[in-house]
């Protein structure tokens, strides 16, 4: 048997989407070091140095979002994750044999305009993109030294692999931009902000960010909505939803529409403008925009109508992620 190289994965909180893949690679015999900076509180540098030149590096983190850059964009970030290292900090220390990038956000897989991550994606050997459309885009802007592969959506795990119990969520409400809402309203204020939506048939899931359990607790105490733990897989939940609702302009919108679920975007001026939300989501054709600026609940008739409506199918339906694809790169490299 070949002496398998160690694997280092990195990301943070809900942007770390590699735990399933790590589990799979471990079962294939690899030693995997997971740097989810939400739970990894040590200094990562000694570990990275000890694995220097030997390891394979897989990341789902924003390539160039260092703590110093975050200081300008999201000042809370370095305070919450003081030991965080971005891929452009990890790669020079680790000097990996092979590097793989897997995006964590389906709406802006290669970073938003405030980071322009495309400038740095050629630093990876392989990029595993969710759709063939993404593959075509990246192949036009990146040099041939970076190989682009269509491997499906990382958060989408095959049903038979994960679903232990079949549930149905009449309305599934996801919350994005939690950092903004928390800074603006606090836990109780968020509950008040969302209250018109929190009917007994609504299931709410917060993103897996640090200390969201305080908001979950407030939701449980003060509303009739069902709170789903933040660490549950969003794609699995979407699969079981009859209607998906989300604020902001989020990966959830893209995931739900590409999975042909009726999807509602709540329009408001929280962090982004309604015009910005519409613009960012304009390419998704299975989405309904609901004005939430006056905190109006979603009319029951609309919920019924959206559920019954059979919208035009998107051009490409989301595919489950192929863990096997990663394994095949690793094996090919070891056999080379």
């Amino acid at each position: 048997m070949l002496n398998l190289p160690p694997i280092v994965t990195s990301g943070v909180d809900s942007e770390y989407v590699l735990s399933g893949l790590s589990h799979y690679l471990r079962s294939a015999g690899y030693e995997v070091y997971e740097l989810d900076f939400a739970t990894f509180h040590d200094d990562p540098v000694p570990l990275l140095k000890s694995l220097r030149k030997n390891a394979i590096y897989i990341t789902s983190a924003h390539t160039n979002l260092t703590c110093t850059t975050a200081n300008y964009l999201v000042p809370e970030f370095p305070k919450i994750y003081p030991n965080y290292l971005a891929p452009i900090e990890i790669i020079p220390i680790l000097n990996p044999k092979l590097s793989i990038y897997i995006p964590h956000d389906l709406l802006t897989p290669y970073g938003d305009t405030n980071l322009a991550e495309l400038r740095f994606l050629d630093l990876f050997d392989h990029i595993l993109v969710p759709t063939s459309h993404d593959k075509r885009i990246l192949e036009t802007v990146l040099p041939p030294s970076t190989q682009i592969h269509c491997a499906g959506w990382i958060k989408y795990v095959k049903k038979d692999q994960i679903l232990s119990e079949q549930r149905t969520f009449p309305i599934l409400l996801f919350i994005s931009m939690i950092g903004h809402l928390r800074a603006r309203y606090g836990a109780d204020g968020i509950v008040d902000y969302l209250r018109p939506l929190l009917t007994p048939e609504t299931y709410i899931k917060l993103p897996a960010w640090k200390n969201v359990d305080l908001i979950e607790e407030a939701l449980r105490k003060q509303t009739q909505a069902q709170v789903i733990p933040s660490d549950e897989n969003s794609i699995t939940l979407i699969q079981q939803a009859e209607l998906v609702v989300c604020n902001g302009a989020s990966s959830i919108h893209a995931e739900a529409t590409l999975m042909r679920k009726p999807t509602v975007c709540l329009l408001d001026v929280e962090g982004v403008t309604p015009a910005f939300q519409r613009k960012k989501l304009q390419h998704l054709d299975n989405i309904y925009f609901h004005d939430y600026s006056q905190k109006a609940p979603i009319p029951r008739s609309l919920v019924t109508q959206l559920k019954q409506q059979c919208k035009k199918a998107p051009l490409e339906v989301l595919q489950p992620f192929s863990y096997q694809a990663v394994l095949s790169f690793l094996c090919a490299r070891e056999n080379a």
């Binding site: 000042p75 400038r119 630093l123």
Partner: protein, 379 residues
């Protein structure tokens, strides 16, 4: 077959040149006979920087010297821009850890064409090393802005042993902050070497000044100031422990009578914790009065709060022709803030709202007031 591929590459190169409006001959307007000597002087002082290069691209002027100095390196002679593009097209599936552009003319040509420079950047997995010719057309700032915008995350600019600068990108527009031995951004009047890293190369802990916003420049009289209508903040740290009784920063503030109606200001900064332009005490000098500038002591605890202010009387500052100057200091003890000129205390206030730190700075809006000789004392 080989010659067919070569011809094809040559045709592609010509097409790319045409598309980018490039002339095929190398041009470097700054390379006069006088500057030739200084170029080689600079290169020989910093030969070690080039040792890591996997490949050195040279022009006819530098080819022989490169062969002599780096006998074990891969030296490529590029005679014109067509060959430069051909080199890229041949190697575009490869990655070099360090790519050296060992020629002022090649650097000049690359920096005049952003798309070609981006192509060459994508050939590097670690860094591109370049010569920076004195250039009247592109300022140091604009050059850094352009390099950061295309995808170089950290750039080390070496002008001379005592003029080094590390800049780090934080926005897609190419905005950067910089670390240096002195707060000013070097001018582009001397030969320099730039090591442009794709990633974070190292934390520049040994550089005492960090300019987190804008650019600070030094004039011919060694006075620091910002650009017109621009904001700049440079900070520096000294060893400090909480048992220190007091810290003091003092400096000379200068302005001319021509600038007295401008809205600019300059400040001494103490107890800075940041980030950005927040959390500090600032002793600000403003030219708001006809002849007498005023000092304003502010604290920033998230928002700016005016603590106290005073108009300086004419005897506080000196005049020489149209140049006025005043030496000001800001002292922070465990419970008090004091500010004044020379031995005179002008402001004396109790304030404990900000933690005491060993982090000081100079802060500017516009170029109306310059600061020289900032000095820091910890007692």
């Amino acid at each position: 077959m080989k010659s067919l591929i070569k011809r094809l590459i040559h045709r592609l190169a010509n097409a790319l040149l045409k598309e980018n409006d490039l002339t095929p001959t190398l041009k470097c307007s700054s390379l006069t006979a006088d500057s030739f000597f200084y170029f080689w002087q600079h290169v020989y002082q910093h030969l070690l920087v080039w040792q890591d290069c996997d490949v050195l691209l040279t022009c006819p002027m530098t080819y022989s010297a490169a062969r002599t100095q780096f006998p074990d390196r891969n030296i490529i002679l590029i005679a014109d821009v067509t060959q430069l593009v051909s080199f890229y097209l041949e190697k575009r599936s490869s990655k070099f850890e360090y790519l050296g552009i060992f020629s002022p003319e090649l650097c000049f040509s690359l920096c005049r064409n952003q798309s070609l420079l981006t192509c060459f950047m994508q050939l590097c997995s670690r860094a591109m090393i370049m010569i920076t010719p004195p250039d009247s057309e592109i300022s140091t700032h604009n050059r850094l802005l352009m390099l950061h915008a295309i995808g170089f995350q950290q750039i080390h600019t070496i002008i001379a042993e005592n003029k080094k600068l590390i800049s780090q990108n934080y926005s897609p527009r190419g905005d950067y902050f910089y670390f240096s031995q002195s707060p000013e951004l070097p001018s582009n009047t001397e030969w320099g070497t730039q090591v442009a890293y794709r990633m974070i190369h190292f934390s520049p802990n040994t550089y005492p000044w960090r300019v987190s916003h804008g650019q600070i420049v030094q004039d011919e009289n060694n006075r620091f100031k910002a650009f017109s209508q621009q904001y700049a903040l440079g900070i520096t740290s000294v060893p400090f422990d909480s048992s220190a009784l007091s810290t003091k920063i003092d400096a000379e503030f200068c302005w001319t009578t021509q600038s007295k109606h401008q809205a600019g200001h300059a400040s001494l900064v103490s107890c800075y914790t940041g980030p950005d332009d927040t959390k500090m005490y600032a002793l600000l000098v403003v030219l708001t009065h006809e002849f007498n500038p005023s000092i304003h002591l502010y604290k920033n605890t998230g928002d700016w709060i005016l603590i106290d202010s005073k108009i300086l009387s004419p005897e506080e500052f000196t005049s020489q022709d149209d140049l006025k100057s005043v030496n000001l200091w800001l002292e922070v003890s465990q419970t008090q803030l004091k500010a004044g000129t020379k031995d005179r205390v002008l402001l004396d206030i109790n304030d404990v709202d900000l933690p005491r730190t060993g982090c000081f700075g100079i802060r500017f809006l516009s170029d109306d007031i310059a600061i020289s000789n900032p000095r820091i004392t910890v007692c």
